[in-house]
Symmetry: C2
Subunit: 359 residues, 2 copies
Amino acid sequence: MAPIRPGSNMTAIASALGVSAATVSNALSGKGRVSPELGAKIRAKAEELGYVPSVTARALRTGRSRVIGLVLPDIANPLFPQIAQAIENAAADAGYGVLIADSRGDSSMQTLAIQRLVERQVDGIVIVPRLGTRIADLGCPVAVIDSPSTPGNTVSSDHWQGGQVVADHLVGLGHRNFVLIGANPLSNVQNDRIGGMKSRLPKGARFETIWIEKLEALAGAGCSLGLKQKVELGFTAFAATSDLHALRALTELQQAGIRIPQQASVTGFDDLVWSSVVSPGLTTVRQDMAAIAEIAVGALVGVIGDDAAEPDAATITVGVTAVAKTDRVPMTLVARQTTASVSSPDFSPASPALEGNDP
Amino acid sequence: MAPIRPGSNMTAIASALGVSAATVSNALSGKGRVSPELGAKIRAKAEELGYVPSVTARALRTGRSRVIGLVLPDIANPLFPQIAQAIENAAADAGYGVLIADSRGDSSMQTLAIQRLVERQVDGIVIVPRLGTRIADLGCPVAVIDSPSTPGNTVSSDHWQGGQVVADHLVGLGHRNFVLIGANPLSNVQNDRIGGMKSRLPKGARFETIWIEKLEALAGAGCSLGLKQKVELGFTAFAATSDLHALRALTELQQAGIRIPQQASVTGFDDLVWSSVVSPGLTTVRQDMAAIAEIAVGALVGVIGDDAAEPDAATITVGVTAVAKTDRVPMTLVARQTTASVSSPDFSPASPALEGNDP
DNA sequence: CTGAAAGCGCTTACAG
DNA sequence: CTGAAAGCGCTTACAG
């Protein structure tokens, strides 16, 4: 097969104009000094010939590919579209392409997926690490998106604050009896969210936390989280650490004949696609992915730098973590269940007011 | 910044062994004839030095980047994770990387996103086209994933057959009164799915089709599809062309106090993440994304070819469509609502049996 | 079987 | 301000 790219290269422009390729390069990059007139002529000719620079040649020469990699623990994660979109946008704005990696759901494949990226000579990698994973030195700059509670430098939403926002909203609706629903007690993100929620529950509020790791396992008939019983026990607010769990709670409650939001409120996190589609809509908290992506990509680009690759093997930079400090990006409430018929803001259940049964 | 990659290149191996770079290249690629002993020595030394080939240099020399692009109309599409994962896997198996493109939700940006990909010299592009979009000649091989009903060469699930599978399932449960729910009457995919469903409704069955394009608009309080009334009119099966619409139907029915699956069955399409999480689970139809991705990537790789780029400008290949024929990949039912209390398989509604009120 | 040479398209010191 | 030269790391005819 013939080459895909149009035939025009710097040499073509140079010879068409009787100048050198170096001058064309200088004119087009604006780096070397070129007379205004010649510069204009060169740019015009480039335009005329439909010149498209060869990123490949540039990469070979400069040692920078202008591509970053994106790694998620599980590409099937419902948050992936939001993240990928934000990263791609931020990268494109910075002149970078985004190569994706998938570990095929297998934890042990994650390293291989990252390695494939490195072999493709990405200039840096954005990683949303698998739960509990420490990212090894990759030999290239890395930006980690994770909870601020995670050791090491990360960019992240302020999940704790997000939890507070949800709790404030629920408390404002009059709720005093909370069921907090999490997926994994080892997740820093989820612990932050739950911690933030708890921190805003008023004196006398009652809460209970349930962790449900394998949500799909409940799909079988008869399986349930027992949420109906919680309602019978006087719980009225069901606050999940993810929209997926909130969806489970919503449908299970509805299935049990509980009216939402009249008898109970359900909230989630992340404003995933279905939260605006279910009836009633899910109150949730949205991450500012654009801001997170900008910080992550910006940090990466900063470390990658603009200087050319000097073949100075002695100073090979290994395992740079690009994000220099822990950035916390605020989250915003998306309230879709704005009413609730909780008896009164001062309502206390018949059972003694507990500070919770949590460990 | 110093170059990221380890210092070892072919020249390093060559000089360490006192041979030429050409021989190293031949030994490592297995293309030129090299004596078995020398070949082994070279491979050992490469291993020892931690040699990683420069994809950049190879790309510059061969004219092929070994990267393909992936373009979806809307990266926020809930099917995106499934597709991206499948394409990435198929591409990795074929030795290709995957660069993503995003049009930022803006239809007019799609062309720009594709152009960015082309400028990065991808060897080919996999496109899931925006509704009604014809893909212009891109100057590089393209594989289109779309409905088989779409003009031109495409790879696709057999959406019609998928519709039949759903209908067969519902009919088998005893349903005779169907509400078909689609998102967009202009979508070939959805028309195929609905067409397939209709084709399997038995004589005397009644059906009605409703199209609901802006699902999110329903999130507001009071908005509804009026599904409760449908139940009152005797409809028992609600079959949507997407899990997102099915989710809306499920929650709206539950919200209205209808018991699922006792009083009505709800089915969707695509086995999106929440279909196994809601209560009760959604019966749905799964696409074989792995097979589709393999066909798409395989076709692309076939067109890209193994031959080197001869600078034969006269035969620049423009707008190749890589997929040579319309492939139809069968879909499989995922039944999660396996019971229904429809009076009897021969039950006919009081109202006259219609062939449907559809145009 | 092995090597010397050219070249993919660009950028970057270094001269002029 | 402009150009000649070298080189990023590889592959591919072509000689030997």
